[in-house]
């Protein structure tokens, strides 16, 4: 045992940039995505075009916002199956209010607040009543969907009368770059930074890693879990509003099955279902991976019946490779 006492200067100094990169949680994932990009750019001349990149990014940008909320919630030790329903709920509430004469910005604010409220209700059942996130969010998923249906009579709301400056959120561009992508990147960078650096979010890691030890460190773990649950629903609400601006409609059935996609992205990106680990950067890479696979299959015009099989296999392979990478470098 030659480990000197406190040899730990290691991380900042001696190790090289490359060594650090190799030890990073996300390296395996980046490698997989790179391989995919290289293969695809040979397979299809359209793949590496600006327009295709833009379209691919647009396809995951809004869902990516939900992935952020889910990742933070997973880190704190929770899970949320209701993300799809809550996203739809935001669309429906805002759309309904707008159709009833409320200013769309105000309507959106109210909708996001309602979604946050739904998160607070889940948080209440988890932290105060003591139920498991899985089952609470499952119930809320069903209830929120019911409210969507009730509020719309099951019919999509057509919102083409939304003012253009509102639609701009979802459809506009800043120069060549769609606003949606700008919003997405800003949120990702902000949350990635906060999660890595802020004391506030550090408590999320402590809580998810060992709730009792966190409580014994004076952290209000219930409050932390309550807040992450609420944040996740709030981000869903925000995503719902962007979807509404983008598609100009509010669909009560929007987002069915979204939860599995979102959780898969976060997990591929290194978030643990047992809490305590995960990064925003990784989760977004997970989203990118899943999305690139889907887009590539479409671009190559793979038979629909094969697509599921290929997507599932790539998902499995990605986590397996990543796991192997991570185990080796640690």
């Amino acid at each position: 045992m030659n480990a000197e006492t406190i040899t730990a200067e290691g991380h900042h100094s001696e190790r090289s940039f490359l060594a650090n990169l190799l030890r990073m949680r996300e390296t395996g994932l980046i490698a997989i995505i790179l391989v995919l990009f290289i293969v695809m750019s040979f397979a299809s001349p359209y793949f590496l075009t600006w327009v295709n990149m833009r379209a691919m990014t647009m396809a995951f940008a809004v869902e990516g916002i939900v992935v952020i909320g889910m990742t933070i919630l997973l880190i704190s030790g929770g899970i949320d199956l209701s993300v799809g329903s809550v996203t739809a709920l935001a669309m429906v509430i805002a759309g309904w209010l707008f159709l009833n004469g409320v200013d769309p910005w105000v309507a959106s604010g109210i909708a996001i607040a309602c979604c946050t409220g739904v998160g607070a209700i889940m948080g209440f059942f988890v932290t105060r009543v003591g139920l498991h996130h899985f089952i609470v969010s499952l119930a809320i998923m069903v209830i929120a969907r019911g409210i969507c249906l009730l509020g719309t009579g099951g019919r999509p709301l057509g919102l083409y009368t939304l003012p253009p400056e509102f639609k701009f959120i979802g459809q506009g561009s800043l120069g060549p770059i769609p606003l949606v992508i700008v919003i997405f990147v800003v949120i990702v960078v902000a949350f990635d930074f906060l999660l890595r650096r802020s004391t506030m979010f550090r408590k999320v890691f402590y809580t998810g890693s060992n709730e009792r030890a966190a409580a014994y460190s004076g952290i209000r773990t219930k409050k932390v879990v309550f807040l992450t649950t609420t944040l996740c629903s709030g981000l869903c609400g925000f995503a719902g509003i962007i979807y509404m601006a983008r598609f100009g409609s509010a669909q009560p059935t929007f987002g069915i099955g979204m939860e599995l996609n979102v959780i898969a992205a976060a997990v591929i990106g290194g978030a643990s279902l047992n809490g305590g680990t995960g990064t925003i950067f990784g989760a977004i890479l997970g989203t990118v991976l899943l999305s690139v696979v889907s887009s590539s299959l479409a671009l190559l015009d793979v038979s629909v019946y094969w697509q599921d099989i290929i997507r599932g296999s790539i998902l499995l392979a990605a986590v397996a490779i990543d796991h192997y990478f991570h185990k080796r470098t640690r």
Partner: protein, 506 residues
């Protein structure tokens, strides 16, 4: 030689936990294994039990080389193991936990719950009075440790490994355990006994082997050497004094004053004062409520009755945060359960109590400052680790304990409550911790220590409260602080109860 280890090496990444170790145990001996924290003791035991595989070297049993691929294999070879870290199935009964191995190899199709409970009752009766039908998760840490021991005793083994079994036990249970160990020795069973308590080694063991830095240093008959030699071999230097000097002239001003503390159930009418500059001990038997009292003071568990005055100010005690805010911190006895974040880095464990301290502007954590804090405290406690960014799970038990203590010290507390602070810590580090505690006390920090190791309590503390069934049954200080006095205060009524129970049992 019943069990012979030769040339075993094991590395975890860059850390060489064991390098070419030789070690042998005879049938019918109690063989002590000593060494500093991180010397590789548990690693070797894990190899013997098949939990880890050696990188190199051989294991021979009865002179024949064996390959131990898993605990199942080890069990077949007659190896029983009480782990340093408690590992029980919380959701099932004590009886089932005790007979888990038996269930595993059982040929019978159906469970014999009644029989298991009866037999578990018999085994437990030798150690303590724990109802075998209790859910294991509902037991206190020390009771769980007893269950672990009982579990190993039911194994039909030839080699029994006990990795710091007494760390969480009080004298009474420890003595019962030693009695049992001696009986087993008479039956020809080889026992490997790991402990940081020299007294235990010299009172009960036949031979002692010392490891240092993953190497075998010496093996001696206990009769031939003294504790100092062992300590010397362990740390490579002489430990001058295990306990620092005590306070010569006790101050009279009160730092903390507890009046009539109670929770209506487990603790009643607890009142005491903590004076500036003193180290106050709390003694008592397992389950006497020592931990409860301290947790009650800190607001970690509700104790609505009574009041607590810190430096003249009555505290509100809604939650533990308030206590931390007031400068009171609590080091838990359950290190793994509520002491450390196993999967997180050492540095972020140490900063957990107040991450704001290592943050710069806007509450953003500054990794350099976090690192510097961990480095400073780690040095002070003689922490052995690879990198401070490694997860705590990669540390040896004693070093994890040091991380937990470093966490407490990180916030410059006014009062520290330490529940079994040196549990699993080696002699050298223990002396170091004692020295630090004394130094803190002299700087005006209030120190309250719960310890089940009476010599430590007596050696370290200026005064000791004795707790019995949730009440303070006496205070001892100075020359009155003897093991006899403390045991007497702690157990008068308890002794009666135990005998009564035994009668019922027969």
């Amino acid at each position: 030689m019943l069990l012979q280890i030769s040339g075993v090496s094991k590395s975890f990444g860059a850390v060489h936990a064991l390098s070419g170790v030789d070690f042998g145990v005879r049938a019918g001996e109690i063989h002590a294994l000593a060494g500093e924290n991180g010397a590789g003791k548990s690693t070797l035991m894990n190899i013997i039990d098949g939990i880890l595989q050696p990188d190199d070297g051989r294991i021979l049993i009865d002179g024949k080389p064996v390959k131990i691929a898993s605990p199942t294999e080890a069990q077949r070879l007659g190896i029983g193991f009480v782990h340093q870290e408690i590992a029980l199935c919380d959701d099932v009964s004590v009886a089932e936990n005790i007979f888990m191995s038996a269930t595993n190899i059982s040929k019978s199709f159906l469970m014999d719950y009644a029989g298991q409970r009866r037999k578990a009752g018999q085994v437990l009766a030798r150690l303590c009075d724990i109802d075998p039908a209790t859910r294991a998760g509902d037991l206190s840490i020390s009771s769980q440790q007893l269950v672990e021991i009982a579990k190993a005793l039911t194994l039909d083994c030839r080699i029994l490994i006990l990795d710091e079994p007494t760390a969480a036990l009080t004298e009474k249970e420890a003595q019962l355990l030693f009695g049992i160990m001696r009986k087993l020795r008479e039956q020809g069973i080889a026992i490997i006994y790991i402990s940081h308590r020299m007294v235990e080694i010299f009172d009960n063991c036949d031979r002692v082997t010392v490891f240092r830095d993953g190497r075998h240093i010496v093996t001696h008959d206990v009769a031939d050497i003294g504790p100092d030699d062992v300590v010397n071999a362990m740390v490579g230097r002489k430990i001058e004094t295990l306990y620092p000097d005590k306070l010569t002239d006790p101050a009279t001003d009160t730092l903390l004053s507890v009046r009539g503390l109670g929770d209506g159930a487990r603790i009643h009418d607890v009142s005491f004062d903590l004076r500036r500059g003193e180290i106050l001990g709390i003694a008592g038997l397992i389950g006497s409520g020592r931990s409860e009292i301290v947790k009650g003071i800190c607001g970690l568990e509700p104790a609505p009755e009574g009041e607590i005055v810190l430096a003249g100010k009555t505290l509100r005690r809604d939650e533990y945060r308030d206590a931390i805010g007031d400068g009171m911190v609590y080091l838990s006895e359950d290190r793994k359960g509520d002491g450390v974040f196993l999967e997180m880095s050492i540095a972020s464990n140490i900063s957990a109590l107040r991450p704001e301290q290592v943050a710069g502007r806007f509450g953003l954590i500054d990794r350099k400052r976090e690192f510097a804090q961990a480095e400073a405290l780690g040095k002070r406690l003689n922490l052995k680790c690879g990198s401070l960014w490694d997860p705590v799970s990669s540390l040896s038990g004693g070093n994890q304990q040091k991380v937990a203590i470093a966490k407490m010290l990180s916030v410059d507390p006014r009062i520290i409550f330490l529940d079994e602070p040196t549990r699993g810590v080696d002699v050298g580090a223990k002396a170091e911790i004692h020295r630090i505690l004394r130094q803190l006390a002299s700087e005006g920090v209030g120190i309250v220590v719960i310890s089940s190791e009476l010599p430590e309590l007596i050696g370290l503390c200026d005064r000791a409260l004795v707790v019995r069934e949730g009440r303070i049954s006496g205070v001892v200080a100075g020359d009155e602080m003897t093991e006899e006095n403390i045991m007497h205060l702690a157990s008068v009524m308890d002794a009666e109860r135990v005998t009564a129970n035994e009668k019922v049992g027969q």
